[in-house]
Structure formats: C-alpha cells, structure tokens
C-alpha cells in the first residue's frame, strides 16, 4: 500500500464475533480527510473494536476496510500504519523505558524517515502540542495527561492520512481537556488528515466533532451533526439506561 495522502477511509458492513459475542454487527463508517468524526456509545458498544479493525489489529469476520477504494483489511497492523492510519491506545502504550522524543522518532522511522529527519519531526510535533517537560524525559516518569498527549503525538508522527484516537481525554481535568480539545481541533489543518475520536467526555466530543457516529451493542445507532445526534430518539433511549451519562449528553 503506497503512502499518499488518502481521501477516504471506509469501513463497510463490519462484523466481528468474539466467541459467541457479536462485538460489531454490520457497521458502516466513513472518514474523510480534513474532518473530525466522533465515535460514541456506552461501554461495550464496540468502539475500541472498531478502532482495532480500522488499524488492522482485529481482522473482521465479515466486511472490508478500504483506503480510497483499495481493500486494506488483510494487511498487517504495521503495513496499515505505514499506509497512513495512525492510532493511539486507550492505555497510551508508550515505550516506557524510552524518552519522549524517541517514542515519536520510532513512528517516524516506521514510515521510512531517516533518523535525523524523524528526530526533527518528533521535536516539531512535541512543540506543536505544547509539550514542555523535556524531550529527554523517560516516558515512565510522565504525568498522566502528558502520557495521553504523547500517545496522540506518536500517532501523528506517522504522518497519517487518518488518526484514530482512543479516549485521549480519559482521566484529564477540565483545564487539560480544554488544552486537548484545542490540539485535536487543529490536527486536520496542521497534519492534513482526518480524525476519528472515541471519547466518553461529551464536552470534548461536542466541542470538536463535526459529525458523530453512535454505536450501541455493536450496531450503528445514528450518525450526523452533534445537534442532530443529540436529539435523535434512538440515541437518547440507548443512553437513558445510564442516567448520569444521559444528563451529561443533554
């Protein structure tokens, strides 16, 4: 798969079954370059599974993932990363014994940059996300919110066409969330890529996403603008089981 700026990432009719459990059941989803799509849903809705499918870590039992029409569902995670799909992880998964700068450099090397170029790029991105605690700091000594931001930055160091961010704001306080939103909103312009954002924090989702896709029990419930989704009766029903969260949505 050649690395070009791709225009669309499309998942068609994705089914994933774990044992007897249907984690995803016929989900369709399209990301376009330059846009920010929010992926929301209750716990167990299949959001992370979707990210795993799109980034090649989970092969779907049925359905296909394509980049500008080319099927990528059989490629390894590494090849997909190189083709231009970057992702972050819920648990950050930084290279703990390495420095912040090295974490980003590795991603640069992964897409074939020279070490010098990858290092320079790493510093650029770290500056851009306003990380100021030292390039040479080892990741195991990072604060929680720095950890989350570095995880995003590492996905961006792949120069992706699409960045998939898995709960980047979890565990952050209000001030940190606002800084994070500022960063995410600007990713498409700065990196020329599309963003898919999984998040439980509705402030963040409503604040940055142009469109929102709602999953529940492995199925698509709705997709549309934040205003549209907020009013969708099916979405409200899905969230009503969880009172606190329903309040957060509305």
């Amino acid at each position: 798969m050649e690395k070009l700026p791709h225009q669309t990432l499309e998942a068609k009719d994705i089914h994933v079954v774990f044992g007897g459990l249907r984690a995803l059941n016929g989900v369709n989803l399209t990301l376009s370059r330059g846009g920010i799509l929010g992926l929301i849903g209750p716990n167990g809705a299949g959001k992370t599974t979707m990210v795993n499918v799109l980034s090649g870590f989970q092969r779907p039992n049925q359905g296909r993932v394509s980049l500008d029409g080319v099927d990528v569902s059989t490629l390894s995670p590494r090849k997909i990363a190189q083709a231009g799909i970057g992702r972050s992880f819920q648990s950050a998964r930084l290279f703990r014994d390495m420095t912040v700068e090295e974490n980003l450099t590795v991603a640069g090397l992964g897409i074939g940059l020279s070490k010098a170029a990858a290092t320079e790029q790493a510093r650029d991105i770290l500056d851009w996300i306003s990380y100021r605690n030292g390039y040479d700091r080892r990741c195991e000594a990072l604060s929680y919110s720095d950890e989350r931001r570095i995880s995003i930055a590492r996905a961006l160091a792949l120069q992706p066409s699409f960045a998939l961010l898995d709960e980047p704001a979890s565990g952050m306080n209000d001030r940190e969330c606002e800084q994070l939103m500022e960063i995410i909103v600007n990713i498409p312009r700065r990196f020329g890529c599309g963003v898919m954002l999984i998040e439980h924090n509705m402030q963040v989702i409503m604040g940055v996403c142009e469109r929102i896709h709602v999953l529940d029990g492995g199925k698509s419930l709705a997709e549309g603008t934040p205003e549209h989704v907020k009013k969708d009766p099916a979405v409200l029903r899905a969230y009503l089981g969880d009172k606190a969260r329903a309040n957060a949505v509305i």
Binding site: L94, D97, E102, G110, A118, N133, G134, E140
Partner: protein
C-alpha cells in the same frame, strides 16, 4: 564537544579497559594478564549477546553455537597442517590440504557465524519471544549433537590442538573495544531504536510501522557476528577448540554476567563481566585451596557455580535491572529539569502519579 557527548558512553567503558590492560601489562604477573585476557574475551561474548538480548528483550541461549561455529571454522583454516588430513579427513580438500593466513581465516570464520545466525534467525525470529528463547536452546543442542558426532570433520568430542596462539592482551582488547563500538552504534541506530520499541511494547511498535521480524533478525545477525568474534578469540587464546567448552556452562556464565550487570544497557554488560570475572577469580582461588597456618581449606567443586547462580537469583529478585539499572554512563553538564540519568525513576513516577491524584478533585466536580 558534541562528539565527546556522543561517544562518552563508549569512552567511559573503553578507557578503564585500556588502563587495565596497560597496567596489568606493566606490573602484573603473567597469570593475572591471562585472567584479564580471558575476561576480555568473555566481554566480547557478553557484548555480543547484549546486542540482541538487551535491545530486544528476548533471551537467547543459542549464541554459543555461533561462537563454536566460528571457533571450528578458524581451527579448520589455521591449525595443524600435518595432522589435519588424518584427524579431520572429512574436511573438503581445500581446507584439509591448506593452511590459511590468520586474518582472512578470522574474518571468514566470523562471517560464517553471522551467516548461520542470519539463517537460523530467519526461522527463530518468526516465533514469539518465549518460543524463540526455547528454540535458540534447541539450536545450541543441535549444534552440540552435530559437532560432537561429526567425527571426520570436528574430531567429535576430542579437542583440536595446535592452533596458533595470537590472542594476546592488546589484540583482545582491540576486539573488545570494537565489540563495544559495534554494540553502541547499533543501539543508537534506527535499527536499535526500533528494536527497543518492540521490547517495550510489541503492539504499539506495530502501530508505529515497525517490523518486529526484521528488526529482531538484523540484531540477531549482528549479535551472532560478535559472538563469532569471541569464538575465534577464545580458540586462538587457548590454542585448542573443543565443543564442550561452547555449551551450557559458558552460556550460563555469559547470561549471568548480563543479568548481574543489567541486560538493558551496554554499560550493564561490561560491568557484569567485570564483577562476575572478579567473583569467579576469587572463588577459583578458594576452590584451589587456601592455607591458613597448617590448615588447608578448600571449597569442593560446584561451589563456584552455586554461588554464581545464587548471586544471579538475588539480583533478579532484588534488583531486576542489574547493577547498572539499564543506564549508560552519560556525559552530564547541567542538571536538566527532566529525569536525568541515574536518578531514581520510581521516585519521579510516584511524584507524577500523586500529581494526577491531587488533580482528580476538580474532575469529579464536573459531573
């Protein structure tokens, strides 16, 4: 200044070794010089093993096979022209009937070790970390069985004698420093960086576009080459080659050295060799017997290994990252704001966590 900072981790290891060899050459007995040389050869083995094990986090028990391959290869080329046609009649004619110059012999032998490492790595590196470790042990066994029984070429379990003895202190020192430089250049290269990323997190490395297979294979090959170099040195230090000397005892010893020094840094490998070599020497003297007055004290055989294994276990339990704790010796100018090398990372981590906890209050208020 930049160069000094870049090379400092190497200089910090090489200069003391240089001094050691110089001083022992000036002032020490031939026996001590021999010990130093032997330790330096072990250093080549340890650094060779470190290149793969330290950076990949996958332990290999098979590296002594590469050392043995190189040792036999140099023996075939350089030893005992008169006896070869009789004792090793199965050798191909050009090897059996000729004796080759030392340097080309050494180079081809090391290359052969590297080639075998590459070929076996093609298979082993496809496996999971543990599967690869166990299979590397299979590799050592296979080589041992084959070389022990391939009478017409290896003389079986008998010892090949009569190799030219050229591995003198300065030559071995040169090779040891070369091994350190190779290891250092590898670990700061793109390959080394990528490999360490896979060591920290295989999944995240794949998401960064890093190939686990090729990075491991590259390191395994380089590491096999350096192990081969150690094998050649050992052969030309002893003047003899025997398959039994490249088996589990040596494997255990080298792994113990890495564990004790700390297998996650080059400095750890070197420090481990130094410490263990000292311990071994003390124990060896004790095994040989101490006479205190008219009393003759001596430790029974087996004590040395027992104590080594004990030290290794204690290190694993109480200081998992070894004496060096995974750090290199770094050139320090200003105390930097971040985590400087050698500082306790755990303390910092705790500080970071408590910061997180104290910030949780406002988060809770939001909902």
């Amino acid at each position: 200044m930049r160069h000094l900072r870049f090379w400092f981790p190497v200089l910090a290891l090489a200069v003391p070794l240089l001094l050691l060899v110089f001083l022992s050459g000036q002032f020490a007995s031939a026996g001590v010089q021999r010990l130093v040389t032997e330790a330096l050869i072990r250093l080549v083995f340890a650094v060779g093993l470190y290149i793969f094990v330290g950076n990949s986090g996958v332990v290999s028990f098979g590296h002594m096979a590469f050392a043995a391959i190189a040792a036999y290869a140099t023996a075939w080329q350089t030893c005992c022209q008169m006896l070869k046609p009789i004792t090793m009649s199965g050798l191909p004619a050009f090897l059996r009937d000729n004796t080759f110059p030392l340097l080309p012999a050494a180079i081809t032998s090391v290359a052969l070790a590297g080639l075998v490492a590459f070929l076996s790595g093609l298979i082993l590196m496809r496996l999971s970390a543990l599967g690869a470790s166990i299979s590397s042990l299979a590799l050592l066994f296979i080589l041992n069985v084959v070389y022990s029984n391939w009478e017409s070429v290896t003389m079986g379990t008998s010892t090949i004698v009569g190799l030219p003895i050229y591995a003198k202190p300065w030559i071995v020192l040169g090779c040891a420093i070369a091994a350190i430089v190779i290891a250092y250049l590898f670990q700061v290269s793109r390959w080394g960086l990528a490999l360490r990323a896979t060591r920290e997190d295989e999944v995240a490395a794949a998401a960064c576009g890093i190939s686990l297979y090729w990075t491991r294979l590259f390191a395994f090959t380089v590491s096999g080459l350096v192990a081969g170099l150690g094998g050649v040195l050992l052969a030309h230090f002893m003047g003899t080659v025997s398959i039994t000397s490249f088996y589990l005892s040596l494997t255990f010893l080298i792994v113990a050295m890495l564990v004790v020094g700390g297998m996650r840094s080059l400095a750890g490998a070197v420090v481990g060799v130094t410490v263990i070599s000292l311990v071994i020497d003390i124990l060896r003297r004790a095994e040989a017997g101490l006479s205190i007055g008219s009393m003759q004290l001596s430790m029974p055989p087996g004590t040395q290994e027992l104590i080594l294994a004990g030290i290794m276990l204690l290190i694993l339990i109480f200081r998992k990252d070894g004496i060096m704790g995974g750090r290199e010796f770094q050139w320090r100018t200003l105390p930097d704001r971040g985590l400087s090398q050698g500082e306790s990372s755990i303390g910092n981590q705790r500080a970071a966590r408590s910061e997180f906890v104290s910030l949780e209050e406002p988060t809770a208020k939001r909902s």
